[in-house]
Amino acid sequence: MNASFLLFTLLNTGFILLVSPLFMSLIKKVKAYAQGRKGPRLLQNYLDLRKLMQKEVVYSPNSSGIMRIAPYLNLAVLLLASLFVPVVFIPDAPAGIGNIIVFLYLLAIERFFTALCGLDAGSSFGGMGSSRLMSLSAVIEPTMVIAFAALAYVLRTVNFHEMFAITAGSTIPESPTLTLISISLFIIIIVETGRIPVDNPATHLELTMMNEAMILEQSGKNLALIELTHAVKQTILMAILINVLVPWGLVTELTFAGLAVSCLYFLLKASLLAGLIGLFESSIAKMRLFRLPSFYMMAFFFSALTILMEVFA
């Protein structure tokens, strides 16, 4: 633990927390434009969160402690995960912070407890959501691990901080294979944040529900925490893609000007990416549940291809 890392925890986590709801709104806005609507204003998500924070929490009589603890735990886990993905600057972190395997499994904690929450109240919607989430996440897991292994293969380290230090130091992507990995990473963002064609975040129809089904029983502050967790997760995953593909602007030294540049650059790049996600969502239809494994195979193919290229190069 040193001063640089302590400052990093405050700045990085604070920054990610602050901007995460913005990207959620941005995607909604882009989708609305694509559908010919005006859409909610960009600050709407912040207002929603504030309003939810003021409301009382209603629990089902069947629910247990899991439902009361999980929202807090999940946000804490995602905040911990945000330390693994530097956005403002790359600090001198203690060993182990930034390890991509730990990062993957931090996401798994969030999934595990969200799924348990879905089962907790005994509603059939919740059960359906958690069953689908856990099944599909099991099928996407090899893809995620292979994509991250591909990153480790190309950049020869298993630590995000070191990886980004390498990519940020170069003006063009370190290796052309990184572009291939980016396709996989993009699909992973879509899957992990439950967007079309995997899941529809704007729906309340039980046929299509996954993530929304599990949080039907949530209300008030707990719902706010869950929404925030979701937003933070999306930002972190986007940050990985950005730092791998277009890492310009990420500073490794701590200066005030550098920080400002870093933050501004990230805001710009992430906004563009959010726009892209919005367009992607608008241009494609929701897939049938059992068609999804073949969609995941595509991402698997790209990351496996990357590794094979590295192997035989």
């Binding site: 059960g127 897991e141 094979l308 192997v311």
Partner: protein
């Protein structure tokens, strides 16, 4: 000092075995489990000293015949596995004090107490064995004592079948071990365990025999079928010992052989890696579909044994390719996973035992809502579930991470084909660990959360204190082993550069607290319990509306239907020639037990066919047998004359 520790432990276990048979009372049963608890403390001290100082003591215990000693030795490998025994036994023995009293008859209670001690003793002696004879003797005692414990409820038809199945498989395992050890003995001329420096093609036969023998006992696919039969039949405390410790003793035996070879071959590593990955993924895929709680856990053991073998395979591959650091990382990962699996799987079996005790059934579909009725059991079960699902900062995560890390660094391998193999097995490992998470969401969620689905779950009550205490001891070990993983490994001299879980855990707890405080202080913190779970306007919620275990795993069953080999056949008859008006038809869903129907049964039929032919030679008349002996002698003489 070391001798004192080990002899005290052995004496305590022997006394624990004899006592309940001599003095048949509740008190002596208690004393017997007390003795196994005491022995585990001695073992802990013994294993700790061995591991820390690296001493390699040799105790020559009894000399039966010239050249046939019962030598006991210990080194750091056996020290690690003794530590494993010493970590599991305290929890199990405290749990058993109360658990054993639920058996139906006094005689069986005494027998269970005695056999538990004998079983622990046998496993300990196998690990301490210094030569092959000693190893095999205690190996057989271990198998037979566990067989008797599997047959604890011998009057149930399914348990008879389970016992027979287990007996055949374990005898098969011993037969392969005999073959392996005899062929080693032929090479070296000595029955002592020691380093082997022979050309690898001489060692092919011993390797294959020992791999099969230990593989059967450890439950490697395709020799795994005895596990899902034996575990539900045995009492839960015994399942905990069998799954937690006995399978690891088989791993120990295999490692003892493998590490003594100075010239292994690459294809061994490949074979072990592939067999391990296959076991891991098939084990968990079968487990997902299971709805018998103990059978599900048995399949999950097959999965974890697969992960351990994956680590061993990786070790061999990296070692032969000259990447020492990764070889060490994989081997340490495999051993640490064996240790961790021992802890959380025994905890899970004990928890399952409590649940079965409270509800009277093993069927997950009958559970539900136990979190309100058995809160302490639930908490302990959750700790184990989180661990086995491999979530940081628990122990299950650390050992899996070590393997993942070894895989991720494998770009240093020179051989491209090996790399491709590693990529494939890596994705299999990833699939396995994600499926394990799904499995334990299902097991925990369906068992403990929501509303009780049946009367027996409705009326369940918390189990007595000793049972909870036994589980709690294991849970504490489980947590400590996760948080202090990198420190423990560093203390043992393995500086592997893995992330520090203590730091991670502290940050996580800190962040949790921070989030809690911030949220509490922002806005009013009112909560209300509503009347019901929202159900689209349906006012009363019935347990039948909940998701079931089969429903939960349905998507995975559909995705992996090729593996489950579900045969759906249907016939239709129509009233018209254009086949548009449906008249009648039949549909049939058949689950093929692939390994049983396609692998075990053909072998069993062949064996019974041959033996029925052989049995025709038996007619019970002395002169016929004399004739057989005469023919045999003649044949031998001819044979030695012309071929020797």
């Amino acid at each position: 000092m070391l001798e004192a520790f080990i002899y005290s432990a052995v004496i305590a276990l022997i006394t624990g075995t004899v006592l309940p048979l001599l003095y048949r009372s509740k008190k002596s049963r208690k004393a017997s489990f007390g003795l196994s608890f005491v022995s585990s403390i001695f073992l802990l001290a013994f294993a700790g000293t061995i591991l820390y100082t690296g001493k390699e003591p040799v105790f020559s215990a009894i000399r039966f015949l010239p050249g046939l000693d019962f030598t006991l030795t210990a080194d750091r490998l056996s020290g690690g596995f003794i530590l494993l025994i010493a970590a599991v036994v305290p929890g199990v023995s405290i749990y058993s004090v109360e658990y054993v009293e639920h058996a139906k008859s006094e005689a069986r209670k005494d027998l269970q107490a005695a056999l538990t001690n004998l079983f622990i003793l046998a496993m300990l002696m196998v690990v301490l064995a210094g030569n092959m004879v000693c190893f095999l003797v205690f190996w057989e005692i271990m198998s037979l004592s566990s067989l008797m414990l599997v047959l604890h409820d011998y009057f149930l038809e399914e348990n008879k079948k389970a016992g027979l199945f287990y007996f055949i498989m374990t005898s098969l395992s011993t037969a392969f071990l005999f073959m392996g050890f005899i062929s080693l003995f032929k090479l070296t001329g000595s029955a002592e365990f020691g380093s082997l420096s022979y050309p690898a093609n001489d060692l092919t036969l011993p390797f294959l025999c020992l791999f099969t023998g230990f593989g059967i006992k450890a439950g490697l696919v395709p020799f795994h079928k005895w596990l899902p039969y034996a575990h539900p039949a045995a009492p839960s405390s015994i399942s905990a010992l069998m799954s937690g410790v006995m399978l690891k003793v088989a791993i120990y035996g295999f490692l003892r052989f493998l590490l003594s070879i100075s010239t292994p071959e690459l294809w061994w590593g490949t074979l072990i890696l592939i067999a391990g990955s296959l076991s891991a993924v098939l084990g968990v895929i079968y487990a997902v579909k299971e709805s018998d709680i103990k059978r599900l856990l048995a399949y999950s053991s097959i999965e974890n044994i697969g992960i351990i073998f994956t680590g061993i395979g990786l070790y061999l591959i990296f070692k032969l390719e000259g990447i020492e650091s990764l070889a060490l990382l994989s081997l340490a990962g495999a051993c640490f996973h064996a240790f961790n699996h021992a802890l959380f799987k025994s905890l899970l079996f004990l928890g399952a035992g409590s649940v079965v005790h409270a509800t009277g059934t093993r069927n997950i579909e009958a559970f539900g809502g136990l979190i309100k009725r058995m809160p302490h059991t639930t908490t302990l079960f959750l700790i184990a579930s989180v661990s086995i699902a491999g979530l940081p900062p628990t122990s299950g995560f650390v050992s899996e991470m070590m393997l993942f890390q070894a895989y991720f660094y494998s770009s240093a391998l020179p051989d491209p084909l090996l790399k491709v193999l590693l990529i494939i097995t890596l994705s299999v490992l990833a699939l396995t660990s994600a499926l394990a998470a799904a499995l334990f969401v299902k097991l925990f969620g369906i068992t403990f959360l929501a509303l009780p689905r049946t009367r027996c779950a409705q009326e369940a009550t918390e189990v007595p204190k000793p049972m909870l205490l036994g589980e709690a001891v294991l849970a504490i070990f489980c947590i400590l082993s996760g948080l202090f993983s990198s420190r423990i490994l560093a203390l043992l001299g393995f500086d592997l550069g893995i992330p520090d879980m203590l730091l991670l855990g502290l940050i996580l707890v800190g962040t949790c607290g921070l989030v809690w405080i911030t949220v509490r202080n922002s806005g009013p913190s009112k909560t209300r319990i509503s009347k019901e779970t929202w159900g689209c306007g349906i006012l009363d919620q019935f347990p039948t509306m909940e998701y079931t275990s089969a429903g939960f795993s349905e998507p995975l069953v559909v995705i992996f239907k090729k593996i489950y080999r579900t045969e759906i056949s249907s016939t239709r008859t129509y009233s018209d020639t254009k086949e548009s008006i449906f008249n009648s038809g039949t549909a049939r869903i058949h689950l093929i037990k692939f390994f049983e129907e396609r692998l075990y049964l053909p072998v069993a039929y062949a064996v019974s066919l041959i033996s029925s032919q052989v049995s025709r030679m038996q007619n019970g008349k002395l002169d016929t047998y004399v004739l057989y002996v005469f023919i045999a002698v003649l044949t031998l003489m001819t044979f030695t004359r012309y071929f020797a």
